[in-house]
């Protein structure tokens, strides 16, 4: 089999892999929300409530922000 054929097959199987991966990702998103592990929709509020002193939707390292605040 020459290199061009190999490239063609590689491209085909890569596509199949990506399709499976994407469908897997959809299932993962919905399943983790259904199980209550994650609430993805709350992240939409990051854009709406974006004042520098407003409470983060998900806090980063408390230690880090305290350190900065103490400066």
């Amino acid at each position: 089999m020459d290199i061009r054929n190999l490239q063609g097959y590689a491209s085909f199987f890569m596509t199949i892999f990506l399709v499976i991966f994407l469908y897997g990702y959809i299932i993962h998103l919905y399943r983790s929300e259904k199980k209550g592990e994650k609430d993805y929709e709350k992240y939409g509020n990051i854009a709406l409530d974006d004042e520098i002193d407003s409470t983060p939707v998900e806090s980063g390292s408390e230690h880090q922000s305290e350190k900065r605040g103490a400066k």
């Binding site: 491209s11 806090s59 605040g69």
Partner: protein
């Protein structure tokens, strides 16, 4: 935490890139209008000697609007909203502030170098990658500095989760970095030959079909990672913020993101249909282009649904009008592109005016509308003044919308006419028309396109005037608007 109480976002760098976006937008669009007029009235080629010819100005137009206007808009909006969605100020890090300013200074030097060298006729002849090797090296430095700003801001953030817009900015950074490096692998001939010829000249490391493939891998992904990805980043922030409505479905935004990343990278070979690249690769380019409708429409529909129950804002707020129309043009453009990538349609569309028609409903209707509305939204927050004139903005909207419609409809007709005439054969199989027959038929459509250019530039001048008046003499605001931008 006491010092945080007085802490404010620092828009110094965002403002600097806002100025270059306005300046380069004006220059790039003026050149575009001139070359569109040259297509209709060829005598306009001889206004400035060799510096005014179509062949000299066309790469200047594309480079100034892409790397001058659009990329300035990308940087300006990033330095504005990057801070806000991470809840961290540039003022908190002297290092990041220095990097941002250094990036701006080098970017302006690069832009001047690009304009001068292209006008002088230095070009690699690779579309959207015409800059010669010294400027390519400087581009890498500017881009890496932007990367340091992105990841530096992320490093000191308070908001742990990265908002979807940042995902898109990161994708823009990584995608362009990878593709730019691959496509600009070149050998400076002066250095390689031990002193022969011009120091500016270089040749690509790839040859023949390989060069074409790498070129269009980059070329189409310049559309993906400069004209799509960072603009989606903008709409995901500015539309929710201006309307006060959170994204309709955050999950859909994540899914569309990965869909777009996986698919867009492999669609570029549709530029090489019916050429010497392997047949399977041409087919793959077509298939991936058609599949691309899904993630593109995923983002666009998500934006339109964000306005659910709030459509009254469309009539009340011209900024929402700009953004909703931008989203609609994104849908139109991302449906039109895949149609053109279907092999049988491409047999008619390839090399015709339908292609620049397609490009411009995307860039004028989607990219420029989104950048202008983003900058309009930023202005009252950056300058603490209300937007100078709502009426002017409304007028600009309608003038520019008319311009976009005139542009793409004239090019649809011109392109399909051209494609059909090139293919037409008589009963004996002889070609029915010579090339000049098509040129004569297309003249009115070229004139309409030039008119569309004049209208669009007029709208852009109104935008620039409105922005400058907002910065300088509009009514001052006592507090920052939460959602809707105040305008007089």
């Amino acid at each position: 935490m006491q010092s945080n109480a007085a802490l404010e976002y620092d828009y110094t760098v965002a403002k600097l890139f806002t100025y270059t976006a306005i300046l380069f937008g004006l220059i790039g669009m003026l050149i575009g209008t001139l070359i569109a007029s040259q297509m209709a009235f060829p005598e306009l080629n001889y206004l400035f000697g060799e510096y005014g010819t179509f062949s000299r100005l066309r790469p200047l137009h594309t480079n100034v609007v892409i790397f001058g206007f659009t990329v300035s808009g990308v940087f300006a909006t990033f330095y504005y909203l990057g801070q806000r969605v991470l809840k961290v100020s540039m003022a908190e890090s002297k290092f990041l502030m220095f990097i941002g300013k250094l990036q701006f200074v080098l970017y302006v030097i690069l832009a001047l170098g690009m304009v001068v060298s292209l006008l002088m006729g230095y070009s690699t002849s690779k579309e959207y990658a015409q800059m010669e090797w010294p400027l390519d090296l400087l581009t890498v430095v500017v881009w890496v500095l932007w990367g340091i700003s992105i990841f530096g801001l992320i490093g000191i953030r308070r908001e742990k989760s990265l908002y979807i817009s940042l995902w898109y900015y990161i994708a823009c950074f990584l995608g362009v970095a990878m593709l730019y490096l691959f496509n600009n692998m070149e050998v400076p001939t002066y250095l390689a030959s031990g002193g022969l010829g011009s120091i500016m000249h270089s040749v690509s490391m790839y040859s023949g079909t390989n060069d074409a493939l790498v070129q269009w891998w980059w070329g189409h992904n310049a559309v993906a990672f400069v004209f799509t990805v960072p603009i989606v980043a903008m709409i995901y922030y500015f539309l929710p913020k201006e309307s006060g409505q959170a994204i309709y479905s955050y999950k859909l935004s994540l899914l569309s993101f990965w869909g777009l990343m996986f698919v867009y990278l492999w669609a570029g070979s549709h530029h090489l249909l019916y050429s010497t690249v392997p047949d399977w690769m041409q087919t793959m380019g077509s298939v991936f282009s058609v599949v691309l409708i899904l993630p593109s429409w995923g983002s666009a529909i998500n934006m339109l649904l964000t306005m659910k129950g709030e459509w009254n804002q469309l009539t009340e707020n011209p900024l929402i009008k700009f953004m909703v129309l931008a989203s609609t043009f994104y849908m139109l453009s991302t449906l039109e592109g895949p149609i053109q990538a279907i092999k049988s349609v491409n047999a008619i569309a390839h090399f015709t005016d339908w292609i620049p028609g397609h490009v411009h409903d995307g860039v004028l209707g989607w990219v420029a509308f989104m950048i202008m509305s983003g900058l309009f939204h930023m202005a009252p927050r950056m300058y603490k003044r209300e937007i100078y004139s709502k009426k002017l903005m409304e007028a600009q909207f309608w003038i520019q919308t008319t311009a976009v419609v005139l542009y793409f409809t004239s090019m649809w007709i011109a392109g399909i006419t051209q494609g059909m005439m090139w293919r037409a054969v008589d009963e004996y199989g002889n070609l029915m028309y010579s090339f000049i027959d098509t040129v004569a038929v297309l003249h009115p459509y070229y004139a309409i396109r030039a008119l569309a250019g004049v209208l669009y530039v007029t709208g852009f001048v109104m935008f620039a005037y409105n922005m400058i008046k907002t910065m300088s003499s509009s009514r001052e605001l006592t507090e920052e608007p939460q959602f809707r931008s105040p305008m007089a």
